[in-house]
C-alpha cells in the first residue's frame, strides 16, 4: 500500500529536473480573518539552490518558521506559488504531498522527535521503513558512521544524550537521500559545545553529499556555517548574505534589524 500513491506530475517527466530545488514566488500567509488577522508573510520570493546550505534568520515573529513550513509543504500559502523539484505543491492533495515528502524531503526538528520505542538505527531507517523500501546495507553503514553512532545503533533515544539524539535525527533526515533537508532550529535545544558538533555534522552532509539544506535559526553561530543567509523581518526578506559569513557580520545584521 505504501507505494501505491500517484507520483506527483513533475517527478514523472523523462528529463531530470535541474532548476532550483525549491522556488517560492510572491508567497503570503495570513492567519485568521478580519481585523484580528495576522500577516505572517507578506510576499516572499526566493529559490533554494542545489547543494547549498541556506540559513533563514530573523527575530521571533519575523515569519521565518512560517516560511519554512510553507517551503516544506507542511502549511499552505494564502497566495503565491511554491514548487519543490519543479512540482507545484500548493495544489497537491494529502496523499501526493505525502509521497512528495517521502521522495524529496528530510526534516530535522528542534526537539528531535524520535520515536522512543525504536533503536537509533531503526529511527534512522524509519523513512525507508514507512516507504516500504529495503535499506541499502552499505548506505546504512556509511550513514551510521557519518553521524558517529555506529556503536550505539541499538540504543533507544532515552539512553542517548541530546546531541546524540539530534545526530540520529540528522541521520534519519538523510536516510532517503532527499532532495532537500529542512532543519527547524536544530541547535535550539542543545548546549553550545554540542551545538557546534551538530552544526559541523550538518555542514559535513552538505559538503560530502551536496545535500541541499534549509535551516531556520536564530543562532548566529549556526547561520555562520551557511552558504547563504536570508534575513526576515515582519514577513519580508529584508537582507541576504551570500557566501560564508563571519559570525560577527551576522550579529551586526541582526542588531541592525532589532534597532529598526
Amino acid at each position: 500500500m505504501s507505494n501505491t500513491i500517484a507520483v506527483p506530475a513533475a517527478a514523472a517527466v523523462d528529463e531530470p529536473y535541474r532548476g532550483p530545488v525549491v522556488v517560492a514566488t510572491n508567497v503570503t500567509r495570513r492567519y485568521g480573518e478580519g481585523p484580528t488577522a495576522v500577516e505572517a508573510l507578506r510576499g516572499v520570493s526566493l529559490d533554494v539552490q542545489r547543494g547549498q546550505l541556506t540559513a533563514v534568520m530573523g527575530p521571533s515573529g519575523s515569519g521565518k518558521s512560517t516560511l519554512m513550513h510553507l517551503l516544506a509543504g507542511l502549511d499552505r500559502p494564502t497566495s503565491g506559488k511554491i514548487t519543490i523539484e519543479g512540482t507545484e505543491i500548493s495544489k497537491l492533495g494529502d496523499n501526493e504531498l505525502t509521497k512528495l515528502r517521502r521522495k524529496y524531503i528530510g526534516f530535522v526538528f528542534q526537539f528531535f522527535n524520535l520515536l522512543p520505542m525504536l533503536t537509533a538505527e531503526e529511527n534512522v531507517l524509519l523513512p525507508l521503513t514507512i516507504a516500504g523500501e529495503k535499506p541499502d546495507r552499505k548506505w546504512t553503514k556509511e550513514l551510521l558512521d557519518r553521524i558517529g553512532l555506529d556503536d550505539r545503533r541499538t540504543h533507544r533515544p532515552a539512553e542517548l544524550s541530546g546531541g546524540q539524539q539530534q545526530r540520529v535525527a540528522i541521520g534519519r533526515a538523510l536516510a532517503s537521500r532527499p532532495a532537500i533537508v529542512f532543519a527547524d532550529e536544530p541547535t535550539g535545544n542543545l548546549d553550545s559545545s554540542t551545538s557546534g558538533e551538530i552544526l559541523g555534522l550538518m555542514r559535513e552532509s552538505v559538503d560530502a553529499y551536496r545535500q541541499t539544506t534549509v535551516m531556520v535559526t536564530h543562532d548566529p553561530r549556526a547561520a555562520a556555517i551557511a552558504d547563504r543567509i536570508l534575513f526576515l523581518d515582519d514577513g519580508l526578506i529584508v537582507k541576504e548574505l551570500h557566501g560564508r559569513s563571519e559570525q560577527h557580520d551576522v550579529i551586526a545584521v541582526m542588531e541592525d534589524l532589532a534597532a529598526r
Binding site: I5, L74, R102, G132
Partner: protein, 855 residues
Amino acid sequence: MIRVTLKGLAGRRLRALLTALAIVLGVAMMSGTFVLTDTINGAFTSIFTESYKNADAVISGKTAFTNHNGNNVQAPSLPQSLVAKVKAMPDVQAAAGSVSDDRTKLVGRDGKVITSGGAPQLAFSVDPTADQRFNPLVLTAGSWPSGPHEVAIDSHVASSKHYKVGDTIGVESRGPVRHFRIAGIVKLPGVSIGGATMAVFDTATAQGLLNRVGKVDLIRVQARHGVSTPKLIRELKRVLPPSAQVRDTSAQVKEDKKGVSSFTSFIQGFLLAFAGISLFVGSFVIANTLSITVAQRVREFATLRTIGATRRQILRSVVVEALVIGILGSLAGLFLGLLLAKGLKAVFAATGFDLPSAATVFQARTIVVCLLVGTLITLFASLRPAFRATRVPPIAAVREGAELPPGRFARFAPILSAATLALGVLLLGYGVLAHGLTTVNRLSALGVGVLLLFFGVSANASRLVRPLASVLAWPATRIGGAAGALARENTMRNPKRTASTASALMIGLALVTFVAILGQGLRSSFESAVNGLFKGDYALTSQSTFAPLTISAEQAVRHARNVTVVSGIRAGSARYFDSTENLTGVDSQLAKVVQLDWKEGSAAVPAHLGRNGTFVDDKFAKKHHLHLGSRLTIETPTGHLLHLRVKGIFRLPKGGSPFAPVSISNSLFDANYINPENEMVFLNVRGGVTDENTKALEQPLKDFADAKIQTASQFKKNFEKPINKILYLLYVLLALSVVVSLFGIVNTLVLTVYERTRELGMLRAVGMTRSQTRSMIRHESIVTSLIGAALGMMVGVFLALLVTHALSSNGIVFAVPWLSLVYFVLAAIVIGIVAAIWPARRAAGLNVLEALQYE
C-alpha cells in the same frame, strides 16, 4: 510499518494492558457462560446416559405432552407384569423394571428436609437379588438396601450431613415421614449431581412408598447379541399397552434432557446478556482510553507524517494496535472464563441452584466466538480514535502542545448527538407505548432504543459535565480544600474525556437503578395483589412456599381443632387451544379463602363446578371468545379429554393471578391426575390466628417435614422473597459491568497523571504535599464517578418510568426505592476511591525534579 506499530505497542505495555482489561471481563463472562452451560449440559448428558447403561431400549409411560416451563407432568406407571412379558421375548437378553421419583425428600435429624433450592429429590428402586447390569449407581460403603426398612443415600448428603451406614434417616414422599436404616452410601460415577439428593430402596419398598404397588415407571431392555436396536424396538412395540412407549437409549436421554436443555439455554441467554452489557461498557472504555492515548501521541503521528507516512498508514497503525490488544484481551478473557465458570456456579449455588457438574467442557465454539467477539468489539471501538489520528497534520510535529484536531464531522457533532438521543427516546417510547406490535418488533425497538439512548446520553454528557461537576464536587471542595478545588477544575478541563469516562459507569448504574425501581414496583404490586386476594387465616405450603406439597398433608390437617375451612389449590398441566398450559384445581370452599373479582358468574361458582365446570380468567376468555356456557375441551397428560363448560369468568388481579387460565374442581382434578399435589392450601380457623390455633395446626403435620403452616401475613412475606433473590442476582451480574467501568476510570486517571507530569511537578514544587496530591486525584475520581452515577440514575429512572407505565395494566407501579439509590451513590463514591488508589499513588510518587524536566 506493522513492526513499528508493534514495537510502539510493546513500548506502551502498561497502556495496552489497561486498554485490554476493559475487554477481558466481558469476554471472560461470555466464555464462562459457555463453559458453565456446556459443562452442565455435559453433566446431565452423562447422568442420563449413565442411568441407562447397558440398556438398548427404554420403556416408559406415555404422556400426551410435556410442560417444561410450567407444572410437573407425571407420566403414568406401567403394570409390573409387563416386565416378565418383555423378559420372555426371544430377542431380549435382559430386562428390569424400576420405579423412580423426583419428589422424595430426605429428612435430616432436625426434622427438616435436606434441600438445595429447586434441585430434584430423587428416589430409585434397585433389585439387589438380580444382576446389576442396569444399575447406574455404585456403592461407596455398606450394601444395597433390602427390605422395607432400608435405604441407601447419596454420598454428597452422607458426607455433608454426616450420615454413615447404620444411621437412621427420614424419607418423605407421598405421605408422612418414614424412617429408614441406611444400608449403603451410593453415587453416580464420574459426575456430581449438584443439589439433588438420592434415596434408593428395593423395588417393593419403593413401590409402596411411591404409591406404585404392582407398577413400574421404567423398563430397561438389553437386546440379545446380534439383534439390532431398531429390530428390538419394533418387536417391543407390538407387545406394549397403549399407555406405554419405547425409545432407544439415546432418544430417551434426549427426551429426559429436554427440560434441562431449555433450562440451560435460558441460563445461557440470561448470562450472555450480562456479558453483552459488560462488553458494551468495555467498548466505551476502550474507545475512551484509545482516544486519550491518540491525543497524547499527536507529536508522534505528526512526525511519522513528515517523514512520509500516509493517513492510511496512521489509521492502520492504530487499528493494528487495537487488533493486537483485542486479541490478547480476548485470549486472557477466554481463559479467565474457565475460572469464572466456577465462580458463576458458586453464585448460582449460593442463590439456591446447585447444579450438577462433571468434567469441564471447553468447546471450539467457545474459543471461536469469544475471540471473534472480543476482537471485533475492540476493533470497532478503535475506529473513531483511529480516524481522529489520521487528522493529525504533519505540521503538528513542529508545534509545541499541539492538540488533536477536531474530526471532519465535528461541526455536526452537537446535532448528531442530540439526534441520537432523540431517536433513542422515540424508539423506546414507540417500543413501550405502541399498540399491536409483534414481540420481535417491540423488542428490537426497545433494544436499539436503549443502545441509542446510552450513546446519545454519552454524546451529550460533555455539556452536562460542568454543571454536574460544580454541584457534585461541592463536598470535595469542602473536604479536600485546595486539592478538592483543583480536582473539580480538573474534571471540568476536558469535559469530553470526563463525560466518556463517566458514561461507562452510567450504563451500569442506569441498569442497576432500572432493576431496583422495577423490583420495587413488582414488590409493591405483588404485595397489594396478595393482600387483596388471600383472606384465609393460615396457609399450608411446602417449606419453600413454591414447591408443591403432597395432598396427604392437607388431609392430615383437616381434622385439627377449630378448623372450619381447608381449601387446597392443585397444580397441574393440560393442553388446550393447541398449547400446553398450567391447570388449577380448586376446592368448593375457595370463595371463603380467596377473593376473586367476578366478571361473569359469582363467588358461588367454585362451589358449583362439579364434574364438568370450569372458570377462566377474563384475558383468556377474551382471547378465545369464551362466555358463560361456552364449551372448552382440555387434554390431560394421560391423554384423556375433559369436556368442560365455562361457569365463571374472573378479572385477572393486577400483580398476577394465583390461578392458571383454566381452573377445574379438585374432585375432577384428582380423578384425572396421578399423584395430585397442592400448590398451596388455605385454612380458616375458629378464632383466627392465635398461638393456640397455630400449635393445633402444626400438631398433625409433625410427620410432614416439608409442610409449613404460615399465618396469612407470613405467607405474603414469603411471596416477596424470590423477588429479592432475583434482584440480588441481577445486582451481582450487573456489578461486572460496573467493574469494567471502574477500570475505565483507572485508565483515564493513569493517562491523565502521565499527561500532567510536568504540572504535577510544578504543584509539588510550589508546596503541594504528597497526600494533597493523592487527595486531588482521589477527588477527581470520585467526582467523575458521581457524574456517571448521576447520569446513570437519571437514565435508569427514565427507563423505569417508561416500563412501569407500559406494565401499569399489570399493576406494576412506579415506586422509587430511595434507600437503594442512596446505596448506589455510596457505591459510586467507593468506586471512585478504589479507582483512584493506584493513579494517586503514581502521582504522589513522582520525583519533583524529574517531573519538571519531563518533556
